[in-house]
């Protein structure tokens, strides 16, 4: 048996008999569990893949675990004097170092595996929807990233243990070097230049974990991690060997060792720079990323044809670079799978690719944009507006088809939310989505116009606080009688005087009726996940919308009384229990196509603010899709296929209580159980001895 293997077994065997191992593993599981639980909750609604969040949580804790597992592998040998017994055996120091390193690394990886298995089990119990939507290969990729990072942390910790006589000093030095120093420098940079984050890029250690877990493996960075680990182990072996360099006669040897260490450090720096310069990213994201696109996006891509060039005009060090790169690659793969257009992806860094950057600028493209080109047509998406699957899909559709522009008029003068307002209470986000979908929008003051313009696709009354005048109601009513379309967002406090109009069209708001049996996150909101089989809502199955203190609706007498062409179809499109929180009515649809009657359509949603900027940004929900579906239904431009929640968006489906339980189990129960089991095993072994 080789000395490496013997030392590896001995390191593992000794660790099993130490209470400090149980403490280190228990502490690691507790901290990583807490970070994961809270990061997972915060990332709800974000685009970070589930296992990238998981890898990020472990990545931040792994250096400390390595430090505590490795703190005494050499320092204890030195402190106790056993080092003499080791150094007089015919074994090379590098074999000892390698064996001890492998022992520490094995223990660290075992702890990571325990955490991985427990995380999956807990997700199955608390957030099965998040796990179902995750790419299962992501876990293996995350483990690979942690194994590579763990190798470096374990090497550093073993080396510092070889340099220190006391375990505590070794652990302290390791934690300072692998946790406090890099993260402290990063925090310092951020504090020094808070606006400079895009220029600095992501925290490199975190970025590596996220990238690999997302399926993008930077080979050069992996090589740097392993190279640094090897050089540090070499230094550790030299440190151990130098323990015998006692006496004046060893002076030339000590000089030689010092020179060798300097050379090895210089080699490591140069080789690392070369590896980073030649870095090549392997794309292992497989089918997961593209199949995660919504049916709507896939449908748009399937209908596209020809060659589309997608250019990411952004600095490679920008914090958004990786995310945009992932999105474009996934878009390309989805288009290939659906038989759509052939995508060519280009990355233009304004600092380095000067020629290409100049060409783009001459065409009027600003930096930090995503540019789609098909033939002579071009569309640029500023990254400042936020880039996602929906924006890309809408742009592709705009490039490949010529949808008619439809005009949406939104009423003003009654305290309604405005499309031009950019704060949390405005609707600028959804206005941008409407523009991408090919709609135009303009305010309309019903008191100032004699009639609704002819190009009106629909009228939106978004949370009128003051009652509409009788004249305005009359104008709306006559518009509806002519086959008009109305979208009403109303609230319990302010129904805008629309109750009479809505009642005439079959909708009766129930302002005083509480919603019973609803799931909630904050206590005041209601999670709606029951949707009718209707053009507005059928695509939302499996998703959820969040409404704040919603109003319920019921069919009015008008909905039951009429027949024939005047028959009103009342559909509760979104509901909780028996409470219909969003309804769609249609009159005239059953009259027959030969009569060429344009049916009147009204959609009423019981929350005036469900697509306000603040609500859309708050957490994962399908509010945006629901609104766009309503608009498409009313404007008669039903979106192809189903919308559903935006693909790649993490949705935990957990309410506040589930989040608390998840955090408690991850951060306290599991670590406690593992700690007690390990202590029991150690006690038993000691008792037997």
């Amino acid at each position: 048996m080789s000395a490496v293997l013997v030392t590896w077994r001995r390191t593992l065997g000794r660790a099993r008999n130490l209470y400090s191992t149980a403490l280190a593993v228990g502490g690691f599981l507790a901290v990583a569990g807490a970070i994961f639980a809270f990061t997972f909750a915060d990332a709800d609604g974000g685009r970070l893949p589930l296992f990238a969040i998981w890898a990020l949580s472990v990545s931040q804790t792994l250096p400390a675990l390595a430090a505590f597992l490795a703190m005494d592998v050499w320092s204890d040998e030195r402190h106790s004097g056993r080092i003499d017994m080791l150094l007089t055996v015919a074994v090379r120091e590098r074999d000892y170092v390698l064996g001890k390193f492998l022992g520490v690394w094995t223990m660290a990886m075992a702890a990571v595996l325990i955490f991985a298995v427990s995380s999956v089990v807990f997700l199955l119990a608390f957030a099965p929807s998040a796990l179902a939507g995750a790419d299962s290969a992501g876990l293996l990729q995350a483990l690979f990233a942690l194994a590579v990072q763990g190798a470096l942390w374990c090497a550093v910790s073993v080396a510092l243990s070889a340099m220190c006589r006391h375990a505590a000093a070794a652990a302290f030095a390791s934690v300072v070097l692998t946790v406090a120093l890099p993260r402290g420098i990063w925090a310092g940079l951020m504090a020094w230049s808070p606006e400079g984050r895009p220029a600095f890029g992501e925290m490199p250690l975190d970025a590596f974990a996220v990238d690999v877990a997302s399926g993008f493996v930077p080979v050069g960075v992996c090589a740097v991690y392993l190279l640094l680990a090897a050089v540090i182990l070499f230094i550790a072996a030299k440190c151990v060997a130098s323990l015998r360099l006692v006496g004046r006669g060893a002076f030339p040897l000590r000089l030689s060792v010092g020179f060798t260490l300097l050379l090895s450090l210089a080699f490591a720096v140069l080789a690392s720079r070369l590896a980073l310069r030649l870095d090549k990213t392997l794309d292992l994201s497989a089918e997961g990323a593209s199949s995660a696109f919504s049916a709507r996006t896939r449908s748009i891509l399937a209908e596209s044809s020809g060659d589309i060039t997608a250019t990411c005009f952004l600095s490679r060090s920008d914090v958004r670079f990786r995310e945009v790169g992932r999105l474009l690659r996934a878009l390309k793969r989805a288009s290939e799978e659906t038989g759509g257009a052939r995508f060519e992806i280009r990355f233009v860094d304004p600092r380095w690719d000067v020629g290409a950057a100049e060409r783009l600028v001459r065409r009027g493209v600003a930096t930090e944009s995503l540019v789609f080109e098909k033939g002579h047509r071009m569309a640029a998406l500023p990254l400042a507006d936020g880039i996602g699957e929906r924006a890309c899909a809408a742009t592709v559709r705009r490039l490949t088809t010529h949808p008619p522009r439809r005009m949406i008029y939104w009423t003003v003068g009654h305290g309604e939310s405005g499309f031009g307002v950019y704060d949390a209470f405005g609707m600028s986000d959804i206005a941008r989505d409407l523009a991408r979908e090919g709609y135009s929008h303009a305010p309309i003051d019903l008191t100032a116009v004699g009639q609704v313009p002819d190009d009106c696709a629909l009228i939106l009354v978004a949370g009128a606080r003051d009652d509409l005048s009788r004249a305005e109601l009359g104008l709306l009513d006559s518009y509806l009688r002519g086959g008009g379309r109305l979208l009403v967002l109303t609230s319990a406090a302010h129904e805008g005087g629309l109750a009479s109009l809505l009642s005439a069209w079959g909708i009766r708001p129930l302002a005083a009726q509480p919603v019973v049996g609803a799931k909630t996150i904050s206590g005041s909101d209601v999670i709606v996940s029951s949707f009718a089989d209707h053009a507005v809502s059928s695509s939302l199955r499996g998703s959820r919308i969040v409404l704040e203190r919603p109003v319920a609706f019921a069919p009015s007498v008008a909905a039951a009384g009429a027949d024939g062409a005047d028959r009103i179809d009342f559909t509760p499109v979104a509901r909780v229990g028996t409470s219909a929180l969003a309804v769609a009515v249609e009159r005239g649809a059953s009259a027959g196509a030969d009569l060429a009657i344009r049916p009147t359509r009204i959609v009423a949603v019981g929350d005036a603010g469900f697509v306000l900027n603040g609500q859309l940004a708050a957490r994962a929900n399908a509010n945006r899709d629901f609104f766009l579906n309503c608009v498409a239904y009313l404007a008669g431009t039903d979106a192809p296929g189903s919308g559903g929640a935006e693909a790649g968006v993490l949705s935990s489906g957990m309410d506040r209580s589930a989040r608390m339980r998840h955090a408690l189990v991850s951060a306290a129960v599991l670590p406690g159980v593992v700690f007690l089991v390990m202590v029991a095993v150690t006690l038993r072994r000691r008792h037997r001895a």
């Binding site: 048996m1 000395a3 013997v6 030392t7 001995r10 065997g13 000794r14 008999n17 130490l18 106790s80 004097g81 056993r82 003499d84 017994m85 150094l87 007089t88 055996v89 015919a90 074994v91 090379r92 015998r244 360099l245 006692v246 006496g247 004046r248 006669g249 060893a250 040897l253 000691r686 001895a689």
Partner: protein
Amino acid sequence: MIEVRNLAFTYRRQPVLRDVSFVVSPGETVSVVGANGAGKTTLLRVLATLAVPDSGTVMIDGQDALSRPLRYRRQLGYLPERVALYEDMKVRDYLQYRATLKGEPAKRVRRRISEAVEMCRIGDLMRTSIHWLSAGLRKRVALADALLLRPRVLLLDDFLAGLDHDMRMAAGEILSNAASFSSVIVTGHELWDFAKWTSRFLVLRDGVIAAKVETAGLEPSVLRERVEDAMSGGAR
């Protein structure tokens, strides 16, 4: 045969060993004695490759041992002055670990262990955890470790310290057995005991070999007197 020539060692500008030369033949046991700080332990640490001499050579069968340390260590058994073992292991596991670490093939490990255990009389300790052993018993376990692979050079530092009366009596037998395959160098202060087993005394004083006293043909009391006289530099 181990041959030490003109060995010198300086630690923090203080000369600890100066011009030390001696030869130990196969089957011979040599005692290195001297007052505290005379350089006994340092001499053994240099011979065990735990320190680097300023000058001088250590030859094993005519070959420079220090220039090929890995090969030399394969022929070396070393019992340090301060015995430190793995507290969490049982004696059997410890010896097995050490034999495997020293590169002994698995099929011969058991035989090597049983030989060493028999020589050191620790057969009844095999299942005991080292944590519970006294200092003397630990020294016996460490001695068994040093003898495991039948080394050609056996270095025993302060060998008899901490051993009980019975074990001291048995030490002669252990050394004579070890001498059948080793050149043995022991250090310590137990002149009376050493006089019974060793063929020669090397008396170290201030890092210099002050005297080499052959034990053959001398009465123990005369021998002891000569050695002590050499140790004190003729002041007695």
